[in-house]
Amino acid sequence: MNESLLDVDGLSLGFSGEAGFAHILDGVTLRMKPGEIRGLVGESGCGKTTLASAILGVLPRHALKIRGGTIRFDGTDMLSRTATADQARVRGRKVTFIPQDPFTSFNPVFTIGQQVDELMKWKSPERENAGVPRHPLFTRYPRARRRRDRERILSTLASVQLPQPEQILKKYPHEVSGGQRQRLMIAMALLPEPDLIIADEPTTALDVTIQAQILGLLRKLATERGAAVLLTTHDLGSAYEICDSVTVMYAGQDVEAAPVDAFFNAPAHPYTGKLLASRPEGAGGMTGIPGEVPSFYDPPPGCRFAPRCPRATADCKRRPDPSHPGEGHMVRCYHPIDAGSAAEAAEIVGAER
């Protein structure tokens, strides 16, 4: 247990609003080892961002209801409302964030340099106490540290392949292209030398060629610097590209977690199977999954995929416990696909065209 960096255990939460209680996450468990790159995949609206936000502590507080479970990062309880000082020390320093949308995640009225400086002022690896002082508006940025931080910034910008880093720092966010902005985001996520980077669909807003560049960069740098990455995405291809292991979510539940090869070649959960098959290159490229995603206001009990699952039985009314079909492979299903059966495997992965 000691080796795990991030430990999400049985997390259940939801939002109460006018229409009632939306039970978004239902007993989600996620464990990350240092240096691991893990993909968190699932269809739109299945709760990936919610999970990432919960770890980062940016869920809207007034509507949020936590039903159970814990999030621990390196010993710090990230859900506790009393340990805010510790959380502040962790966020932005040990855990950093790459947002989905590089277009709107920069503050439009400050130059990039100002924003990077601000980050380093508080979160530089050299700053002893990464916490928040009493009067942040009036806190100075020590000159000597600023100079050293500046060098660090320039070298990091160069390592994310940004040409002329000095010039870029003087620009406003709207003056640089989307790919450059996303590279800047990666640089900013790397600068505090974090243990974990949470990247929430970092390439959906970009074109394929740029996406390939960015994903490659992210993987290379994370591995070089020994940072773990939690990559949420609904694009299975992206997950395949850079992840060591993958966790699949369906409607707020984690259904399967496996090393990347096992995941794509020997999926165990029926949902994972269907998902892989729905890809244009997949066997069922034109069939999809019949039925609709359940409502969060009134989710089916037990396994939430049961209503659409051809293998479902009465058992599925209870949430299945994890089982382990292989090394580091976890699945929550009473009727997992048999990875050994060639027929079943072909149904999923499909023949090359």
Binding site: A212, G237, L276, R279, I289
Partner: protein, 332 residues
């Protein structure tokens, strides 16, 4: 093959960039000499990066945008520059399905009323007849008739797409331009939507222009594919040929950038650097020169004409001569 039902010649469409005083600061060449032909019954894929002019091409053909130069010949008639109203009879046979079908429906109108609108405008069918047709169409796109009384925001993304299609099909078109019909959809939904297109095509005898930025979808759906880069079709040809033997370096890198599950990781080997230039500041010569790994002096001088390589047309001086970089090779 029969004579094309639709073809364009040297289509150009430019958007001025307005400064203060209404002064022109420059222009975006959204379409820069686009020529292609569309044959009856085929599905022509149109791929390319965001902003390369795919939607503009669709809208120009449709008459929503008027071209600055070039011809659009539909069924033997030049319709370039005519607004939808002017070429009514012809336009009925040519329809455009919006990239975001939810947004193409008036948020304050019920689905039924939106679906009736084309009939109100173009026919003088009595109300009861119109309503009957609406119900018919709803069924053929796979929506329950009860959805007539819903508002657009009460439908899911996939359902909105169906409604968008239903609206277009109301007038029995022959050619339908589908603009990114699966963008933003999850793979599972995308699959069902794609099969719907296939079914409808068979049922109504349609010809599609299928705009997408997703090559794997295009490969699945289309007979021929045109690759656009910065306002120009840089390569066009049968889908299998292009997928297996891309001749334009841009097409090559595009294909190489797509992750292929089970294959080698492209992120480790992907060679293309830099980003596309601004459509308002096209360089002299080949528009891909800034990113092309094979760039030669001639590329900086002369904008390459289309070269024929097999069944493909390719706008590269060295089409058919250059090698696909090794990393891309084993991916194909």
């Amino acid at each position: 093959m029969s004579a094309p039902i639709l073809h364009t010649e040297g289509l150009e469409c430019r958007f001025p960039i307005k400064g203060s005083f209404g002064r022109r600061l420059g222009e975006i060449r959204a379409l820069d000499g686009v020529s292609f032909a569309l044959h009856h019954g085929e599905i022509l894929g149109l791929v390319g990066e965001s902003g390369c002019g795919k939607s503009t091409l669709g809208k120009t053909i449709m008459g929503i945008q008027s071209p600055d130069a070039g011809r659009i010949v539909f069924d033997g008639h030049d319709i370039a520059g005519q607004s939808p109203k002017e070429a009514r009879a012809l336009r009925r046979r040519l329809q455009y399905a919006y990239q975001d079908p939810g947004a193409s429906l008036d948020p304050r109108w019920r689905i039924g009323r939106s679906l009736e609108e084309p009939l109100v405008i173009h026919t003088d069918l009595p109300a009861s007849e119109r309503r009957r047709k609406v119900r018919e169409i709803l069924v053929s796109v796979g929506l329950p008739a009860g959805h007539i009384d819903l508002y657009p925001h009460e439908l899911s993304g996939g359902q909105q797409r169906r409604v968008g299609l239903a609206r277009i099909l109301m007038l029995n078109p022959e050619v339908v331009i589908l603009d990114e019909p699966t963008a933003g959809l999850d793979v599972s939904v995308q699959a069902t939507v794609l099969s719907l297109f296939r079914d409808l095509r068979a049922q109504f005898d349609l010809t599609y222009i299928f705009i997408s930025h997703d090559l794997s979808v295009v490969r699945l759906m289309c007979h021929r594919v045109a690759v656009m880069y910065l306002g120009r079709i840089v390569e066009i040809g049968p889908v299998e040929d292009i997928m297996s033997r891309p001749t334009h370096p841009y097409t090559q890198s595009l294909l190489a950038a797509i992750p292929r599950i089970g294959g080698r990781r492209v992120t480790e080997t992907f060679w293309l650097e830099g980003e596309p230039p601004d459509a308002s500041r096209l360089p002299q010569g080949c528009r891909f020169q800034g990113r092309c790994p094979h760039v030669q002096p001639i590329c900086r001088e002369i904008d390459p004409p289309d070269r024929e390589v097999g069944a493909q047309l390719s706008a590269c001086h060295f089409a058919g001569e250059i090698e696909v970089p090794p990393a891309a090779e084993d991916a194909t």
